[in-house]
């Protein structure tokens, strides 16, 4: 039998299951850690550039067979950049990341399976 001491007094990290640690880099606002306005503008330019390239790729017939992978990669990059910097997920509490990634991963997981049952990939 595990003694009471083991069970009760052992400090159980909050991080365990679904949510962040109580004293997770939270508390004070993270403004100071956030990018500066200048950096924001740079990031935006980068995103704009990616978009431009995307559209370009769409028209370059030479890349026809590579089109899908390229476009997907770009989309994922843009997605991640916005989430990480504009939405501060890179600087904010782990809890926020967990909540969002949980939903995102779950969505990708289940809908991939759904599409598979419709033989989506093979058509």
């Amino acid at each position: 039998m595990a003694s009471e001491a083991e069970i009760e007094e052992t400090p159980v990290p909050d991080g365990g299951a679904v949510v962040g640690h109580a004293t997770d880099e939270a508390g004070a606002p993270h403004a100071h850690k956030h990018p500066t306005e200048g950096q924001y503008v740079l990031i935006a330019l980068f995103l704009a550039a990616l978009t431009a390239v995307e559209v370009a790729v769409y028209y370059i017939s030479a890349l026809k067979d590579l089109l899908v992978p390229i476009l997907l990669t770009f989309a994922i990059v843009k997605f991640t950049v916005v989430v990480a910097f504009f939405m501060h997920l890179r600087f904010d509490s782990r809890l926020f990341r967990r909540l969002f990634v949980l939903g995102l991963a779950l969505a990708i997981f289940v809908f991939t399976i759904v599409l598979t049952t419709f033989h989506f990939w093979s058509r």
């Binding site: 039998m1 003694s3 009471e4 069970i7 009760e8 007094e9 400090p11 159980v12 909050d14 365990g16 299951a17 679904v18 949510v19 109580a22 939270a26 508390g27 004070a28 606002p29 809890l95 949980l102 939903g103 779950l106 997981f109 289940v110 399976i113 759904v114 598979t116 049952t117 419709f118």
Partner: protein, 707 residues
């Protein structure tokens, strides 16, 4: 239920006592009578309203069940016409799941989670009230179909294309679609609210792994809701567009594959069934330890198995589609995933048994219902596993064998668990005991009636009786067991009536103290019923089962012994006096009399160590609870207006409803959480709050509109 009529309404001390209640004026903590309920933002009152409403819907769903049973009691019966029967079984299933088990679980979650984690309210009290009113509006909306030309008749999972306009003209299905859409809003707001509450409102020291197991299981259920609701929302929207705007999502002639509906529905539907069972499992995990006078066996394992069930629940939905022709590969995969959900569930079953093992068991009503859960749910679970055996399921699916399975898990599981919770927490919520004797009789009637009603379904199913048939010919060998089942259902009905009588007849029972069961968790450390602010001083939690550890310690061979019996009693008395003085509410007295009302240990020990043991009355005036508000109730009604407008294609009405909702939300978000006439941090938040912008700060942000 009589609870409603005598609410523990008490004005927050801060209120200037001379405030006339005018409709245009903001309701205050002083508002009395019906309006105090319409405008309340107190999670306890909201919990009570959830509970009472859900119970009434249980009666309706049960009434429908009895109609089903009368019709099926004998072959070629003509008690119900085919279409009426289809309406009745559809509404029975929809009611029991969406209007009874879910909201009753929500009732317990609302009432107990904040108290169990030592909070004074949920994170978003007005959103909480909104959730309740939306639920009520959704339920009434769906039931209004009975008087508006016919109730939904497509089954509780409304398979397309049968639910398309072409095959289901008339508004029956529309009421189902829009009704569930409304109820979804209620569930989603509730989920967000309770998740934030459990994550963010825990008292100091209440680490996640000290949270009571009921809070844990409800939290998991809320996460399932958070992610499952959007899926059915989409499914319902697609169906709505098909029916209302001629879209083609489920129209095979247009090249669609109607199985899409089944995937979307069960992608929601299976997590849903765990949403229905996890809170009940949480309740059972609270009740069994208390009445075995032993801690829950393997708390951590219980938590993790709950989480595991939550995760695995996302990988099995297609087990509802084994006969649809998914192909051997997909079916094999889902067959395996389905079976292995039995593992974490089994762990729970065995841990409950291990909790009872070598305990000191008081077999009173709550405990009997809890043990009944373990016994009956196992049967349902086992039939579930036989469903997972795909080839066998092609024989079982859509027969009464399935109906047997899900009634054993839903009634033998959820309902037994919820009744355990009702008998266990009733004294805390209402302030006096239910009759344990009547409770026990009800339990045995339940157990016998339940097995009489649903046990035969196993046989009927295996004998090939399909579900959802309004009639069946004789000489199929189904007559006898159907009759038995019908008789059984009336035994259950008797038990339900007995419960109603119990509530009524026990209303004069002596008041109980804080801790009538000699229980383990925080809710039992405060008065019964609790004051509006729950804890005069937020407790400092030092251990799992904190209250128990304030009362007991363990001797060298691990038996629990009272810490300091003497002053426990003493403090309890002083404290009773204190509270009686502070709150004009006699919850403190009658402690002694509680003993004879039940078999629970000494009613006194425990409260003594609660945070508000003496001397805190000067704190009280500074506890401002958020003020009541009209807006949640007001706003929720707009949703029904939208839906009626949509159904009858009176677009102006729909638009008016939309404006109604927007207006309500806007007024709501501009309204400070706590009325300005109370000295409040609201209009200009004091600086020590900014860092996290928590609390009333930020009230007026416009994002009330984000849907």
């Amino acid at each position: 239920m009589t609870i409603v009529t005598d609410p523990p309404a008490r004005p927050p001390v801060a209120q200037p006592p001379d405030q006339p209640v005018r409709l245009l004026r903001r309701p205050t903590g002083y508002t009395k009578g019906i309006w105090s309920w319409v405008t309340t933002v107190d999670h306890k009152k909201i919990g009570i309203m959830y509970g009472v409403t859900a119970f009434i819907f249980f009666l309706l769903g049960g009434l429908e069940a009895l109609m089903l049973r009368i019709q099926l009691g004998s072959p070629n019966n003509t008690f119900l016409s085919a279409d009426t029967y289809n309406q009745v079984f559809t509404m029975h299933g929809t009611t029991m799941i969406f209007l009874f088990v879910m909201p009753l679980s929500a009732a317990f979650a609302n009432y107990m989670i904040p108290i169990q984690i030592g909070a004074r309210d949920v994170a978003f009290p007005r959103l909480n009230a909104f959730g309740y009113w939306v639920f009520l509006v959704g339920g009434l909306f769906m039931y209004s179909s009975f008087i508006l030309g016919g109730a939904p008749n497509g089954g509780w999972f409304g398979y397309a294309p049968n639910t398309l306009k072409l095959y289901s003209p008339g508004h029956n299905i529309d009421f189902w679609v829009f009704g569930l859409q409304i109820l979804g809003i209620a569930s989603l707001t509730g989920a967000v609210n309770l998740i934030v509450t459990a994550i963010n409102m825990r008292a100091p020291g209440m680490s996640l792994f000290r949270m009571p197991i009921f809070t844990w299981m409800s939290l998991v259920a809320q996460f399932l809701l958070l992610f499952a609701i959007p899926v059915i929302t989409v499914a319902l929207f697609l169906l709505m567009f098909d029916r209302t705007f001629g879209a083609n999502f489920f129209n095979a002639q247009a090249g669609s594959d109607p199985l899409l509906w089944q995937h979307l529905f069960w992608l929601f539907g299976h997590p849903e069934v765990y949403i229905l069972i996890l809170p009940a499992m949480g309740i059972v995990s609270e009740v069994i330890p208390v009445f075995s006078r032993k801690p829950l066996f393997g708390y951590q394992v219980m938590v993790f198995s709950g989480i595991a069930i939550g995760f695995m629940g996302w990988g099995v939905w297609a087990h509802h589609m084994f006969a649809t022709g998914l192909g051997p590969v997909a079916t094999s995969a889902f067959s395996a995933s389905t079976m292995f959900i039995a593992v974490p569930t089994g762990v729970k079953i065995f841990n409950w048994l291990a909790t009872m093992w070598r305990g000191k068991i008081t077999a009173n009503a709550p405990m009997l219902f809890a043990v009944g859960f373990v016994a009956m749910f196992t049967i349902g679970g086992l039939s579930g596993v036989t469903h997972g055996v795909v080839p066998a399921d092609t024989q079982q699916t859509d027969t009464y064998y399935v109906v047997a399975h899900f009634h054993y898990v839903l009634f033998g599981g959820s309902v037994f668990g919820l009744f355990a919770g009702i008998f266990y927490w009733y004294p805390k919520v209402v302030g006096h005991m239910l009759s344990d004797k009547l409770g026990k009789i009800q339990f045995w009637l339940f157990l016998i009636g339940f097995n009489m009603t649903f046990g035969p379904f196993h046989i009927l199913g295996l004998q090939g009786m399909p579900r959802r048939i309004y009639t069946y010919p004789s000489h199929r060998g189904w007559d006898f067991w159907n009759m038995i089942s019908t008789i059984g259902s009336f035994v259950i009905a008797a038990a339900v009536l007995l419960f109603i009588y119990n509530v009524w007849s026990s209303r004069k029972n002596p008041k109980v103290g804080n801790d009538p069961w000699d229980a383990r968790t925080l809710e039992w450390s405060i008065p019964s019923p609790p004051p509006e602010y729950n804890f005069a001083e937020v407790p400092l939690v030092t251990a799992r089962d904190d209250l128990w550890h304030r009362k007991y310690t363990e001797d060298e061979n691990g038996r629990s012994i009272p810490r300091h019996p003497a002053d426990a009693a003493a403090e309890a008395d002083t404290e009773a006096v204190v509270r009686a003085a502070v709150t004009d509410e006699g919850s403190g007295d009658g402690d002694g009399s509680a003993d004879d009302a039940h078999e629970g240990g000494d009613a006194n020990d425990g409260d003594g160590h609660e945070a508000d043991g003496g001397g805190h009355e000067e704190h009280e005036p500074h506890i401002h609870m958020p003020s009541p508000s009209y807006w949640p109730a007001f706003t929720s009604i707009g949703l029904a207006v939208i839906c009626y407008g949509m159904i009858y294609r009176v677009w102006v009405v729909a638009i008016l409803g939309g404006l109604w909702v927007l207006g309500g939300l806007y007024a709501w978000s501009l309204e400070p959480a706590t009325a300005p006439d109370e000295p409040e941090l609201d209009t200009e938040p004091s600086t020590d709050l900014e860092p996290v912008g928590a609390g009333p700060a930020g009230s007026p942000d416009g994002d009330g509109g984000s849907d």
